[in-house]
């Protein structure tokens, strides 16, 4: 019993094909959609840093719009309109389009996978709808599969959930092929010998660190070794930029600044736009450090 389960895990970790390289261009603006996996990456920055380093000759900027608990329907983004699926979805689409992306990373499926096979049609419909709604951006799309869950002390049996996640991974791959967009297989990121998760579902800070190179790998990026200290400076700059951008797009006190009580404190909303030049300055710092890598 145990053996066959272990074997199943082993087999499922074999990628079907070597990943196709995704080509980044100078001036690319990546907008990254997803749930906790994406949201937490912005506070650690390992994946983003690895991506920038792999393309150190190009000026690439990243805008992380990850939101915990989110789905392809924008379920976590509705705020006071949480009961209105149209408003949730609009939040997701409109903000993405406003940022004028040339590349969109779409990283969903984990939360939907709790619904198992029964939830698959709803997920597929939602993903197709999202892809259609994002067409006006004319951006290159990368569909990322969910990551697997890991066996940990507090989460001893990930197999049933991974069977579900695999279904969603396969479905995303099929949609990517049908639409001729890029597919990146996070499900098969396998960080050998490192503990990357404590709760079984999410990566720890170390988890992002040890999966950074495999992450660029599934996007087909070539790995170049850079001095650790230089990479670390770049990562700190990335984190600083992400924090400023977070205050810009997801400020606290939304209710008073932009929501239904803006007639009281909406005058302070102008402060939020003052984050724009600060984000731009932080990008300059990133660009400087990126060039210094070589």
């Amino acid at each position: 019993m145990f053996l066959s389960a272990a074997l199943a895990v082993l087999l499922s970790t074999q990628p079907n094909d070597p990943p196709k390289p995704f080509e980044f261009k100078a001036g690319d603006r990546i907008v990254w959609l997803g749930s906790t996996l994406v949201e937490r990456e912005q506070r650690y920055g390992y994946w983003e840093t690895a991506l920038l380093a792999a393309n150190a000759d190009k000026n690439i900027t990243v805008r992380n719009l990850g939101w915990s608990g989110d789905t392809v329907h924008g379920e976590a983004r509705g705020r006071f309109d949480f009961n209105n699926p149209d408003m949730c979805f609009k939040q997701l689409v409109n903000l993405t389009l406003e940022l004028k992306p040339t590349v969109i990373f779409i990283s969903y499926g984990t939360n939907e996978a709790f619904e198992g096979k029964e939830g698959l049609p709803k997920f597929e419909k939602g993903l197709e709808k999202l892809l259609d709604a994002l067409k006006p951006a004319k951006a290159r799309i990368v569909l990322l599969s969910p990551m697997r869950f890991y066996r940990t002390k507090s989460y001893p049996d990930p197999i049933p959930m991974n069977e579900k996640l695999k279904l969603y991974r396969d479905s995303i791959k099929a949609i990517a092929e049908k639409r001729d967009v890029h597919f990146a297989d996070l499900y098969h990121v396998w960080p050998s010998f490192h503990i990357v998760s404590e709760n079984g579902m999410h990566l720890t800070e170390d988890g992002y660190k040890h999966t950074a190179v495999p992450f660029t790998g599934i996007l087909g990026q070539k790995y170049t070794r850079f001095p650790e200290t230089k990479l670390e400076s770049l990562r700190q700059a990335v984190i600083a930029k992400n924090e400023l951008f977070f205050h810009r797009w997801r400020p606290q006190n939304e209710t008073y600044l932009f929501g239904f009580r803006k007639h009281e404190q909406g005058k302070n909303a102008k402060e939020v736009a003052e984050f724009d030049p600060l984000v731009a300055k932080a990008e300059d710092e990133i660009a400087k450090l990126r060039k210094e890598l070589k």
């Binding site: 608990g69 079984g200 579902m201 606290q252 006190n253 939304e254 008073y256 009580r261 404190q265």
Partner: protein, 1158 residues
């Protein structure tokens, strides 16, 4: 008299900020602050810590070493662009135990508004905006250098709502709260958890298990556990005082699948409270043990409540304050018992509170101060700080006998952190060594919690350990103490709901659901909600065989709803019949209120076995779920001559009307019930007429036509007949109503016809209004006519056009203006048209900051006594919308401590510009329905496709969500503009002065814990009322379900009801003048209580319809339920005002509260 007219422009822009404008920045010397404290007798207060050791404390908790961890924020309320988030967690230590902190450590910085802190697991759990993080230091005693994100996705829509109120439960789970504006979406390996409003989370960090423990409240910054694990909650923006939180329960403003019904706090009409702690331990005197301490942070008071059992729940009574002060910056916000048995109070120290109404960047926001105060009992020994962190496991198990809750909780934390590998063998040894049957039950309960916390999974657990745990659990769930039994059942339920169920469910049936104590039954019923089986529902319903109370009824309702997916299919297929017990079936079907159960409900009614007290409920249920045939059945029942009280008849007929409106139930083939109802009096006949209109019943059309057209029809009947005809909506109805609008009709007929026509044919109605209004007189009731246009989309504009070039009586135009302002909607064109047609002259501009300043200066010289009389004037309508001490309208905020929290300029502005700053929870929605009707009101709830709003008239209206074509926030406050326009300058100043005094400590209008009757109902001498008196007798007013029309009236702040303001009447020409009054008492546990009268001269008193001899102290023996006290006053002789206070009778079990509200 020279009138000072404060007329205003209607369209306003918030150009200047004035809320709390005159807030004074006081001298920050802590000793000056301390000197303002009035401390409870026998206690004293010393300064434990103050700035610069700490600034802006938000929450505090002790660790097992006795160190105080404090979350502080200088960034609140909002980070500035370019500012680095640098809020701190600090640790305060009193190393020489002199009662003053002498060591401060900054444990963490670089945080963004940390609103919660709880030390544990080698560091601390901290609320960090969207995340819950665990911080720890690599070096013991050092600064945190490791941060683990445990949960993310908490909403941040309001920085005084983000996750807060962290505390370890007695079960070693981390409990924390979020508030109403927060929408959280949290991923856990066990699924995504969402909570889109306020509530309490329960978190097990070992397994990243997160669940909602209870839902609701506006801003619940207080949560404490009593020694038996029961939860109590306070709300920093709600007004219900202490709440007893039951697992899974829904409270005020809940979101979630069962939000139709909520539980309430124990002290309606309370000010807002922040923080909550329970007194325990040897340092405090015996009569303080188990008392609750919370903070009226607006009123600068630390308050104390005494808790008593009340059926399955509790009753809480306010006692004299621990501290009260008039220091403007004393803001007690958190309260905790300390390791020495003293009480610690965190003082946020700020003249300005809140950031909704006051600018984020107001320069007077204090950013640098903060205090921790320590309250000790004079002449009593402190508790010696217990040895915990260095203790052995057996020593720690022994500490669980401590009389201090503090010590027991911390000992459990230390045990938990030792790890189960070390603890389980010792627990096993300990358990096997005791005589379990005779062991102290309280101690056993603590050990049970230790077991429960250690056994979060089965890995490495031996059979012998499982057996030992089982022995303790078994002893707990069969304990002699009902309190121990109750909480042990909760723990047992959590475990057994996941495993094999049949064994445990038999015990529920055999013992717990039939338990001798209502709290045992309460916990049994709630824990069954997780059992996911039909048998669990069957077991839960067994509690109906025992006495029920309100909390139990709610708990059963919730459990039955949670279990509906399991029992309903079996019930429908006939596999389950709840023992054929009609009472149980009726309860289950009512709780489910599911359309699929019409047949069984009808069968239950027709079966004839239904207990009498359930019959009305089943018919009401039919109005919620039934189709046309069932509604006819209800009408038939309501029309019976016997077996239906007048009140029940009205409720049923109006429920049928609501059903047709909200559920669009189509007409039946034959509306047989209606004719007999149309012959009834009053509300029943009116509702029946509207039903005839809604269903377009041709058979009653002639009657309606006649009633609408005949000259001698009474006005109120004509109005309803016209309304019913308009509902037919056809050309014939339109033609008839249009005809009744014409100039050859009586003015009253024209007015009502135009009002009805507005819903059918707005342009024609407007034309007719344009013809009618120039000749209308102000004494006619024109408000409804204007409202008919204003409450329809585009109506105001159409009416404005129809009035072009017309001349109106100036007073008529003013009535129109008043309606336009009260409508809460933009109506510029109509206002302009009315102003011109009435030749009223231009409206005045909004007051400038200087004018407001001048008004405030005048108000400070005003007279509060006169101001209260202005406040009470009928035409100002203050009491129709605002309550004091819970008595009064519920449309706007309660005024109990408004003067202590709001500054005079804010009050002046709120009177003149009601829309500029609106209190949390009082924002109105604007909804337009498919028939172009506009509704405004504060959202009460939205569930099952129905939106319920509370209108400015304090009425709840239900709108089917399907009918809504537009919805959004109303642009305006529900408080009409121009209310104070007619006041003299002096009246206005006096009114403001009165409001500024409300709730001020030390003043004449300070909060008072006396339970006085504030809400009364009085019989107005209207003709129908007088005729009823003549037909019966005056004491008929004391009969249950009497047909008199009662109007609300309210006591003054002092509790005195001024007789001079009350209507009096003489029944016959030569009888003496009388006043008939009544009030209600809500009795949750039966027994003796006392009413204290200021004077009983010339009073006749009834309780129910039984006469009672009034004495200055009248003892009443009351049964449970709402009891009405009716008082007849001979006004010819009595001139003294009336004041009645409710008080306890020694040793009486009674739990009684005075019914408040409107």
């Amino acid at each position: 008299m020279r009138y000072y007219i404060l007329a205003l422009l209607v369209v306003l822009s918030p150009v200047f900020v004035l809320a709390q404008k005159d807030a004074k920045v006081p001298d920050p010397d802590p000793e000056l602050e301390r000197k303002t404290f009035i401390v409870a007798e026998g206690f004293e207060v010393n300064l434990f810590a103050a700035d610069p050791l700490l600034a802006k404390p938000i929450q505090m908790n002790f660790d097992p070493q006795g160190r105080l961890w404090v979350a502080t924020s200088e960034i609140y309320p909002q980070i500035k662009p370019g500012e680095k988030a640098n809020d701190k967690i600090i640790i305060l230590e009193d190393t020489d135990t002199d009662g003053k902190a002498d060591k401060t450590t900054v444990f963490a910085d670089g945080l963004l508004i940390p609103t919660g802190i709880e030390p544990g697991d080698g560091g601390a759990y901290v609320a960090n905006s969207t995340e819950l993080v665990h911080l720890s230091a690599s070096k013991p005693g050092g600064k945190a250098d490791k941060k683990k994100v445990l949960l993310s996705g908490f909403g941040t829509e309001d920085t005084h709502h983000i996750i807060h109120t962290f505390r370890w439960g007695p079960d070693c789970r981390l409990y924390f709260n979020q508030s109403i504006y927060i929408h959280s979406h949290i991923e856990t390996p066990h699924g995504v958890k969402r909570l889109n409003a306020g509530g309490i989370w329960r978190f097990n960090p070992d397994k990243t298990e997160l669940d909602v423990f209870a839902r609701g409240w506006i801003n619940s910054w207080g949560h404490a556990f009593d020694k038996y694990g029961q939860s109590f909650v306070t709300d920093g923006a709600g007004g219900e005082g202490i709440n007893h939180a039951i697992p899974g329960g829904y409270y005020l403003t809940s979101e979630g699948p069962h939000r139709q019904r909520v539980l309430h706090g124990m002290n309606p009409g309370s000010p807002k409270y922040c923080g909550l702690e329970i007194i325990s331990g040897r340092h405090f005197p015996a009569d303080w043990q188990g008392d609750l301490i919370t903070n009226d942070f607006r009123g600068h008071r630390v308050c104390r409540f005494k808790l008593k059992d009340d059926g399955s729940s509790f009753a809480a009574r306010e006692m004299t304050e621990v501290i009260k002060s008039n220091h403007p910056a004393f803001r007690p916000i958190d309260v905790k018992m300390g390791p020495d048995g003293a009480l610690y109070i965190a003082d946020w120290y700020n003249p300005i509170i809140q950031h909704g109404e006051v600018d984020f960047r107001d320069p007077r926001r204090d950013k640098t101060h903060g205090r921790i105060w320590r309250v000790t009992a004079k002449g009593r020994d402190l508790v010696k700080k217990p040895k915990l962190v260095d203790a052995t496991i057996p020593e720690l198990l022994d500490q669980l006998k401590s009389p201090e809750d503090w010590t027991r909780l911390q000992a459990k934390r230390v045990l938990k952190e030792r790890g189960k590998e070390k603890v389980l063998p010792e627990l096993e040894k300990w358990t096997n060594a005791i005589d379990i049957e005779r062991h102290d039950e309280n101690h056993l309960l603590e050990v049970l919690w230790v077991w429960d916390a250690a056994l979060t999974d089965n890995r490495g657990v031996t059979q012998a350990q499982v057996k030992a745990y089982g022995a303790v659990l078994k002893r707990g769930v069969f304990a002699n103490s009902p309190q121990v039994r109750a909480i042990a059942i909760r723990l047992s339920g959590e475990r057994h709901a996941k495993g094999p169920k049949s064994g445990p469910l038999e015990i529920y049936k055999e013992h717990w659901c039939r338990g001798d104590h209502p709290r045992v039954r309460l916990e049994a019923v709630r824990s069954l909600g997780a059992f996911r089986s039909a048998v669990a529902a069957e077991a839960a319903l067994l509690v109906l065989d025992k006495p029920m109370d309100r909390t139990l009824d709610y708990a059963l309702w919730l459990t039955i709803r949670e279990l509906e997916p399991y029992w309903m299919p079996e019930f429908k297929s006939g596999k389950l019949d709840f023992g054929g017990d009609a009472k149980k079936i009726a309860f289950a079907l009512s709780a489910a209120a599911n359309k699929d159960t019409v047949k069984p409900v009808v069968a239950l009614i027709d079966g004839g076995k239904l207990p009498k007290e359930n019959v009305h409920g089943m018919y009401l249920l039919l109005t919620q779920i039934g189709g046309p045939d069932e509604l006819v059945k209800v009408l038939g029942f309501a029309g019976r001559d016997s077996g239906v009280t007048p009140a029940a008849r009205i409720e049923l007929v109006q429920a049928v009307e609501d059903a047709i409106r909200t559920r669009k139930v189509p007409p039946p083939k034959l509306a047989t019930g209606l004719p007999s109802l149309l012959r009834q009096d009053g509300a029943v006949a009116h509702s029946a007429m509207r039903i005839a209109g809604l269903w377009k019943v041709a058979a009653h059309r002639v009657m309606l036509d006649t009633a609408a057209s005949e000259p001698e029809t009474p006005d109120h009947v004509r109005a309803t007949a016209l309304e019913a005809l308009a509902l037919f909506g056809d050309d014939k109805a339109k033609a008839l109503i249009t005809k009744l609008c014409s100039a050859d009709q009586k003015p009253a007929v024209r007015r009502m016809a135009i009002t009805a026509l507005a819903g059918l044919d707005m342009p024609t109605a407007a034309t007719k209004a344009g013809e009618f209004l120039p000749n209308a007189k102000p004494e006619e009731e024109l408000g409804e006519l204007f409202a008919a246009f204003l409450n329809r989309k585009g109506g105001a504009g159409v009416l404005a056009k129809a009035l072009a070039g017309k001349k109106l009586n100036a007073e008529v135009a003013r009535i129109g203006l008043k309606s336009a302002r009260a409508s809460g909607q933009p109506a510029d064109e109509l206002i302009a048209a009315l102003t011109k047609a009435g030749d009223l002259g231009a409206a005045k501009k909004p007051p400038t900051p200087d004018e407001v300043k001048a008004l405030v200066a005048d108000a400070m010289k005003g007279n509060a006594v006169r101001g209260e009389l202005v406040y009470r004037r009928k035409e100002l309508q203050c009491m129709a919308c605002h309550a004091y001490g819970g008595a009064g309208g519920q449309v706007g905020p309660d005024m109990t401590s408004i003067g202590a929290s709001a500054q005079p300029d804010y009050l002046v502005e709120s009177l003149l510009l009601p829309t500029k700053a609106i209190k949390e929870g009082y924002h109105a929605m604007r909804v337009v329905t498919a028939d172009e009707k506009v509704y405004l009101g504060v959202k009460v709830r939205e569930a099952d496709g129905l939106l319920v709003l509370r209108t400015s008239e304090d009425k709840e209206i239900t709108i089917p969500v399907k009918d809504i074509t537009e919805r959004g926030q109303a642009m305006k406050s529900l408080m009409p503009e121009g209310l104070t326009d007619q006041l003299t300058k002096q009246d206005f100043a006096d009114l403001v002065k009165f409001l500024t005094e409300l709730g001020k400590v030390g003043g004449p209008y300070a909060p008072n814990k006396a339970r006085v009757v504030r809400r009364w109902q009085v019989i107005d001498p209207t003709n129908p009322n007088l005729n009823l008196f003549r037909r019966t007798r005056v004491s008929a007013a004391a009969e249950p379900d009497n047909p008199f029309a009662w109007s609300p009236t309210y006591s003054k702040v002092s509790g005195v009801l001024p007789l001079g303001e009350l209507p009096k009447f003489t029944v016959w020409n030569d009888t003496e003048a009388q006043t008939v009054l009544r009030f209600q008492l809500d009795v949750t546990t039966a027994g003796n209580v006392k009413l204290k009268f200021n004077s009983v001269e010339r009073l006749v008193v009834y309780v129910g319809n039984t006469p009672v001899e009034p004495k200055l102290e009248t003892i009443l023996d009351l049964k449970t339920g709402v009891q009405t006290v009716t008082i007849l006053i001979n006004r010819h002789w009595r001139t003294e005002d009336l004041r009645i206070e409710l008080d306890d009778v020694a040793n009486s079990p009674a739990r009684v509260s005075i019914v408040g509200g409107k």
